[in-house]
């Protein structure tokens, strides 16, 4: 038994591709970004995302997510996706357009460096919270709803630039994102990984898991 193959050209092409694509995808730490410059550039962000980066959910309106402590690579990808339209949001698109590539990197570094401010846990029905906890930590395999921690990591504190931190995020924001993944209006997740699961979730699932995740302290 003998198999011969030559994977060298592919390896070379791949190395080249990753080198070219990495900065675009925000996956590499090649350009770390300047936190001070990012703070200055973030002047356009604070009106909504707040000075401490903790975000805000105005009653009945679009929630402004917490950015503090999010992975820099994740923020870069989202900003670039707002610019390109890969992630559609009429409020964010014009603000993202104001930032050049360097500012995107700097702003991301700035928010990544901020600690997520403590917030009071949202009021919620205990049974609903328990359902949310189950989905987040165990999932519901009878409906192939994979548990959040499987990808978002221990404590749902995020894994690298591809799987953002969920713990401590505004429940209103999480709910809207899951709904958007479910109805297809947001689809900039890698390989439809989030969309595949969101489409199996009921309104109650989304409500419960958003509330529970939002009530979690950030563990790092």
């Amino acid at each position: 038994m003998r198999t011969k193959r030559n994977k060298l050209p592919y390896a070379a092409a791949l190395a080249w591709l990753s080198a070219v694509l990495m900065p675009l995808g925000g996956m590499g730490a090649a350009n770390a970004g300047n936190i001070e410059a990012g703070k200055a550039a973030a002047a356009v962000c604070v009106a909504c995302h707040q000075v401490d980066g903790g975000g805000m959910a105005p009653a009945g309106a679009e929630p402004w997510p917490a950015l503090a402590g999010l992975d820099a690579g994740y923020i870069i990808k989202q900003l670039n996706d707002f610019k390109s339209g890969a992630r559609k949001n009429v409020s964010m698109q014009p603000f993202a357009q104001m930032l050049n590539d360097q500012q995107v990197t700097d702003v991301a570094a700035y928010y990544a460096s901020l600690p997520l401010p403590a917030r009071e846990a949202p009021e919620a029905d205990r049974e609903l919270l328990a359902h949310g906890e189950k989905l987040a930590l165990q999932g519901d395999w009878d409906r192939y709803i994979v548990r959040c921690v499987a990808c978002h990591g221990p404590g749902n504190a995020g894994v690298g630039s591809d799987f953002p931190r969920l713990a401590g995020q505004l429940p209103e924001y999480l709910r809207r994102q899951l709904q958007a993944y479910r109805d297809g209006s947001r689809s900039n997740d890698p390989q439809d990984l989030m969309g595949s699961i969101a489409r199996r979730m009921s309104d109650r699932d989304i409500e419960a898991v958003s509330l529970w995740l939002g009530s979690q302290p950030v563990q790092k």
Binding site: M1, R2, T3, K4, R5, N6, K7, Y10, L14, S18, Q138, D140, W141, D142, R143, Y144, V146, A150, C151, G153, P154, A157, G158, V159, G160, D162, P190, Q191, D192, L193, S196, I197, K220
Partner: protein, 379 residues
């Protein structure tokens, strides 16, 4: 999800009933009632009832069961006529079950070990794997090597080690190969807990229910691929579909020292004796379980190609290694390695031709390899 509720009150709780079914009725309208009867009696219906159910496919299983299976294994084949279907109970069902509190504790411990086997790292586990890394859905899902069959088909003769194996011995096999480790001792607290969890999942299944009738048992072999499995094509699929979680170099992904996505090759992955180091096993695992959350989305060809790529990478030595790769392959060729690339030359190197045992500071736990034979004993 509300568990299916057609079961009569003899099971734990009608709302949370483990259930299973064999081919039973013809008309969907009557299926529920007949299914409940079959469940109570654990009986197959007479052959004529089954014969009538030829078309449409699966009509002999009630609609609710089919819906449940579609939820558990999206996109997977549905049960065929005559197959035995068992939906294992959940941990919520355990809480409501009429079992001794001390037994419940034991089963909970087994479940916890099954999900987080890394708590035995350095003692019984010497790689980054958990039981649930391969047995998705806590060991309950069809097409993901659900673990309940082991609780009812054993003790039985096992070709892999050539003697009669018990459930504990079967679990020990996973530790020895897939976890590249040394199993908890037979009868030890951890081993008893793991075995109890397996048995709980098999609740209600007849002992020695024939394994070959079981729906979604093991990683059912995929149809042969159209093209010969190819590692170069496999690598392309890997980069597109797998690398985001398992990393381009197969090392998986950790966060703050905790394993999030298991490595697929290298020192911290399964060793050359693991069932999933066989190409057909990995191909089926991949097809029916990966990418995470998207089962049954890759083509059969992609799955075979991926298996060829992943299982042509190096990994810790087979614990059965004699010191000679050709000899070891030959010894276990028929019962195992004819399905793996162990001892095969790929890109100018012979796979498995090394003495690297990964993070495990020994080649094999000797006591696991003790044979068993009754032929010389008389009643």
């Amino acid at each position: 999800m509300q568990r299916h509720s057609v079961m009569a009150s003899h099971v734990l709780d009608p709302k949370h009933a483990a259930r299973h079914a064999t081919a039973t009725a013809t008309a969907t309208a009557t299926a529920t009632a007949i299914l409940a009867t079959a469940f109570t009696a654990f009986a197959f219906l007479p052959g004529d009832a089954r014969a009538e159910a030829a078309a449409p496919a699966n009509s002999q299983f009630d609609a609710e069961l089919i819906t449940q299976l579609k939820g558990m294994a999206p996109g997977a084949p549905l049960p065929k006529e005559g197959q035995f279907v068992h939906v294992p109970p959940t941990m919520e069902d355990l809480e409501e079950a009429d079992l001794h509190p001390k037994l419940k504790e034991t089963i909970r411990r087994g479940h916890d070990l099954f999900i987080n086997t890394q708590q035995l790292r350095g003692k019984n586990v010497f790689n980054d794997m958990n039981c649930a890394s391969c047995h998705m859905g806590e060991g309950r899902l069809p097409f993901s090597s659900p673990v309940w069959p082991a609780a009812v088909v054993l003790p039985n003769f096992r070709p892999k080690n050539g003697h009669v194996n018990t459930l504990e011995e079967r679990i020990a096999g996973c530790f020895t190969y897939s976890m590249n480790g040394e199993p908890p001792a037979y009868g030890s607290d951890d081993m008893v807990a793991l075995a109890a969890y397996h048995q709980w999942l098999a609740k209600g299944v007849p002992v020695y229910q024939p394994g070959n009738t079981m729906y979604g048992r093991g990683f059912p072999r995929l149809p042969e691929p159209e093209l010969k499995p190819d590692a170069v094509r496999g690598q392309q699929v890997y980069e597109a579909k797998c690398a985001i979680c398992h990393s381009a170099d197969g090392s998986g992904r950790k966060q703050d020292g905790n394993v999030v996505f298991p490595p697929l090759w290298g020192d911290a992955s399964y060793n050359w004796g693991a069932g999933i180091s066989r190409l057909f096993t990995l191909a089926s695992f991949v097809k029916h379980n990966m990418p995470l959350g998207q089962p049954n989305t890759l083509t059969d060809q992609q799955s075979w190609d991926l298996a060829q790529y992943i299982n042509s990478q190096e990994r810790p030595q087979d614990p059965r290694y004699t010191g000679d790769i050709a000899e070891t392959r030959a010894l276990y060729e028929e019962t195992f390695h004819k399905h793996s690339l162990y001892g095969v030359e790929v890109d100018g190197r012979v796979l498995g031709d090394h003495s690297n045992t990964g993070e495990k500071p020994f080649l094999r736990p000797e006591w696991v390899f003790k044979p068993r034979d009754f032929s010389a004993r008389r009643p």
